[in-house]
């Protein structure tokens, strides 16, 4: 392992937050309340259990094989060929998922900021930004995550400003939507919560493995808190019915606030716009490029950038494929479901095999 590729467990917190919170937060209140109505916040809270489960599975898995990277684990568990195939599948998943993220980010950017700029150009800028960051390696990705977290943090407080118009009856009575509706809501939130699976790759890079579970829970905690605040504020201000007609409730929410002098706090969001949108792509993109370069035995010091550019081109092409916003939303939904496959079932399968073949896998 290259020494420049290690990160601290503290940085893992920010990586997990960065991998999870992206532009999903803008549409989350609408998606969840479409199913769970006024109990959407409950669904968001429960939705956090899925990534928590993923975290625990991956941590258990990693603890069995702390010496091997993600690719190494696959080779140990599935054998050389099948293992490589599994990694390829994971890379395909990451590319597909991030292409939907980039596409939606482009759509929102065009809708709110650049109505006359062609989509391919905006997408290109997003992808290029991600390439620049990923190329710099794990440490820089971790540091950028850290800086962005602190820069974006004030947004969480700005979002709470509309609470002056809150009507708490909008979320009452609690639990009226019913178990099934809330469960549906949880399923809708999976897209927003996807991202914990980057830990599969980052586990190996963290220096102090003992701290990983703590870091994971902290990161997930922040994500949940952010989602909960946004969902609650939207519900309390508008109620679940009104949210349905707004594509990106959180953005619209920011437009409703008016501060003296500054006029619109939206300006702050737009100034950190790229930072908000690019975080999942740079983390997942890094995970994909890192794994792919290992499977293909690419010399990372010299040719890592070629793998990154290859991944970026794939993401770019896939992102431009959906012909319109409706299709893009559909793709994003599928991506959310595949995240369950890649994030939950895949590590679980690995863990089961690791337990069964326990004696063969080095215990570390």
């Amino acid at each position: 392992m290259n020494n420049t590729d290690t990160i601290t467990s503290k940085q893992l917190i920010f990586i997990i937050i960065g991998a999870q919170i992206g532009i999903g937060i803008f549409s989350l209140p609408r998606l969840v309340s479409a199913e769970a109505h006024q109990d959407a916040w409950l669904a968001v809270l429960l939705g956090a259990l899925v990534p928590l489960l993923i975290l625990i599975i991956i941590e258990r898995l990693g603890r069995r094989m702390p010496e091997s990277s993600f690719v190494g684990m696959n080779h140990l568990l599935f054998g050389r060929w099948l293992g490589s195939a599994m990694v390829f599948l994971f890379v395909v998943y990451a590319v597909f998922f991030q292409s939907t993220v980039v596409r939606l980010f482009t759509e929102i950017t065009i809708a709110f900021l650049l109505p006359r700029t062609p989509a391919p150009v905006v997408t290109l800028m997003v992808v290029l930004g991600a390439v620049y960051i990923i190329n710099k390696g794990a440490r820089v990705v971790a540091r950028v995550n850290e800086v962005l977290f602190w820069i974006i943090l004030p947004l969480l407080f700005i979002v709470m400003a509309p609470l002056v118009n809150a009507d708490y009856t909008e979320i009452l009575p609690v639990g009226e939507a019913g178990v099934k509706a809330v469960a549906q809501g949880v399923l809708s939130s999976t897209n927003a919560y996807a991202g914990m699976e980057v830990l599969l790759v980052f586990y190996f890079l963290v220096k102090s493995k003992g701290e990983i579970i703590k870091a994971g829970i902290l990161g997930l905690g922040w994500t949940t808190l952010a989602y909960l605040i946004v969902t609650l504020v939207c519900l309390l201000v508008w109620g679940s019915e009104t949210i349905q007609v707004i594509n990106w409730p959180m953005l619209t929410l920011l437009k409703t606030i008016k501060f003296p002098v500054l006029e619109r706090p939206e300006l702050f969001l737009l100034a950190v716009w790229m930072g908000v949108g690019i975080r999942p792509t740079m983390n997942m993109g890094f995970a994909a490029a890192y794994s792919l370069s290992e499977v293909l035995h690419v010399e990372r010091d010299k040719y890592f950038h070629r793998v990154v550019i290859f991944i970026a081109v794939l993401i770019y092409i896939l992102a431009l494929l959906p012909p319109n916003l409706i299709v893009a939303f559909k793709w994003a939904q599928y991506a959310g479901y595949t995240s369950l496959l890649a994030g939950l079932l895949y590590p679980l399968l690995m863990l089961v095999i690791a337990v069964i073949r326990g004696k063969e896998a080095p215990s570390g």
Binding site: K10, V122, M125, Y132, K136, R143, E263, L270, M274, G275
Partner: protein, 525 residues
């Protein structure tokens, strides 16, 4: 090859390590042989003085002194070398001394100068002459005596104009390395202060000193610095700037990665934080490694002010940095892409002011930006009062005329003025220069993509900052990687009695700086 002498060895610049072009042969015994060897050098340099004389008034031993006119101190030369040698030396001819003993005896009895040494290598001798030493050769004694009586005119110690302090010491470095070192030594009296000298530059043969505190500094870093200094292979070192460019980590970056200062007090503070200082002869600047981004926001008087004042000023500087880079870009984004984000009244008045300006916001901004950069440049180069006049004429009159002629809106004049003021509010020169450049790409990105481009530009810049390293130490610490304990002396400037730990961002042997434990054994013994 150059090398840095080990501790305990010679701490003077070693004369003879670079032997290229000069035959590295032992000195001959005979007086005439030596003179013959040296003749080509004397013939080519008319300022090289070869002064033959006899030891003792009875003409017992022939000798010759070689030195450069006005490089050695004439008074010392006459008083402490020639006079005792010619008048009073004696005793060495009696008894059965061999030649080595003889030269020792002459040196010990008759030369009343502190710094001297002997050599039997021709190359070392020649280099010593050209390094500005006085060299004595004697008949029938192989070894030559090298005496350091540097003299000549040096600038007096003044307050550095680029780092003025309202309160606090007014002392600044000058161009003489030895005097600079003495300024540090005088105020930092610990025996653990290590000073190593080496020579850089094949032809200028510039003495360079590396300073650090033995029991604080991380010795891995010292080794890296020695390595990098040894790897430098250039003809000439003209200033500390040449050294900086040869040893910095990422030359392809607009950001200054090595902090410099002209103040001895600042130098001492940096040494005490575990950094390594490099001083170059001929430059009134010390350079410090590893350097962090935040250091370019720290001024030495921050530490003399009250903590609240210091912290407030720090905040203002970060804000000024942000404004200096992004205000013109924000102006373009808000005027030409998203005017709805401005307060309605402001948007209207801006639009009215811009109504008769024939250029788009980007061109308007670029023109003004170009003008102000030229005003700054002309002001810098012209002598004092003329420079000020140029600034006033160009700034005020041109600005006013441009508005009257409807070539620029008053708003852009204000924007550029604020930007410029904020740029020069930053306490360090290199950062000011970086800021002047960084504004442009952001303006261009924003002109194409509006606020989206603005955020993209800042993201790329932050990523770049995160990727920089100085001597392998993350440059953007303590922000990323987060060393939050260090925020007390970066984002804020808290009370001195609370800064008990040295900065975590700089690797050191000894974390505790002051107070509390006392078990670690502080400074000195």
């Amino acid at each position: 090859m150059r090398k840095i002498p080990r501790r305990g060895e010679e701490t003077q610049p070693q004369g003879g390590h670079d032997t290229k072009g000069i035959p590295d042969i032992p000195l001959p015994q005979g007086y005439d042989d030596k003179m013959a060897l040296l003749r080509p050098y004397v013939e080519k340099s008319h300022d090289l003085i070869a002064r033959p004389f006899y030891l003792d008034s009875e003409m017992k031993l022939q000798a010759c002194a070689f030195y450069f006119n006005a490089v050695v101190d004439d008074k010392k030369l006459n008083e402490h070398v020639f006079k005792p040698l010619m008048m009073h030396s004696g005793g060495w001819e009696s008894g059965d001394f061999n030649n080595t003993d003889r030269v020792d005896l002459i040196v010990r009895t008759s030369i009343s100068v502190g710094q001297l040494r002997k050599t039997d290598s021709f190359a070392v001798m020649v280099h010593s002459i050209f390094d500005g030493m006085l060299v004595l050769v004697f008949e029938s004694i192989q070894e030559a005596v090298i005496i350091d009586i540097h003299g000549g005119q040096v600038r007096s110690i003044e307050e550095p104009p680029s780092e003025k302090a309202i309160r606090g010491p007014r002392e600044g470095f000058i161009e003489n390395l030895d005097i600079n070192i003495s300024m540090v030594r005088r105020h930092l009296r610990t025996p653990r202060l290590v000073i190593k000298k080496t020579i850089v530059g094949k032809r200028t043969r510039t003495p360079v000193a590396v300073l650090y505190i033995d029991d604080i500094v991380d010795h891995g870093l010292v080794e890296q610095i020695n390595d990098r200094l040894n790897r430098i292979d250039i003809d000439g070192v003209f200033s500390a700037g040449s050294i900086i460019q040869m040893i910095e980590d990422k030359p392809y970056s607009p950001f200054p990665q090595i902090w410099t200062s002209e103040r001895p007090d600042k130098t001492i503070a940096e040494l005490l934080e575990g950094r390594i200082a490099i001083m170059v002869d001929g430059t009134p600047t010390a350079i410090f490694l590893p350097s962090l981004f935040i250091e370019f926001f720290q001024a030495s008087e921050d530490y003399l002010e009250r903590a609240f004042v210091g912290s407030f000023i720090r905040f203002m500087r970060y804000f000024a940095f942000f404004i200096a880079i992004s205000l013109p870009a924000l102006y373009i984004a808000l005027i030409s892409f998203t005017p709805e984000l401005l307060p309605a009244n402001l948007a209207v008045s801006l639009a009215q002011a811009r109504k008769e300006v024939p250029f788009p916001a980007l061109i308007e901004t670029l023109i003004q930006e170009f003008i102000i950069q030229m005003v700054i440049e002309s002001g810098l180069r012209l002598p004092g009062s003329v420079g000020q006049t140029a600034g006033v004429v160009a700034g005020i009159i041109l600005g006013q005329a441009a508005i009257s002629a409807k070539l620029a809106s008053p708003a852009i004049i204000i924007i550029i003025a604020i930007t410029t003021v904020c740029t020069f509010a930053l306490p360090s020169g290199p950062l000011v220069q970086a800021t002047r450049i960084l504004r442009l790409p952001l303006i261009l990105l924003t002109a194409i993509f509006g606020l989206f481009g603005f955020s993209l530009g800042w993201l790329l810049m932050l990523t770049h900052l995160c990727s920089l390293e100085s001597l392998g130490v993350p440059y953007f610490a303590p922000f990323a990687p987060g060393r939050y304990a260090d925020l007390k002396d970066s984002l804020f400037r808290i009370w001195l009695f609370k800064m008990n730990q040295r900065p975590l961002s700089i690797p050191t042997q000894q974390k505790q700086r002051q107070g509390r434990t006392g078990t670690e054994g502080g400074e000195g013994e």
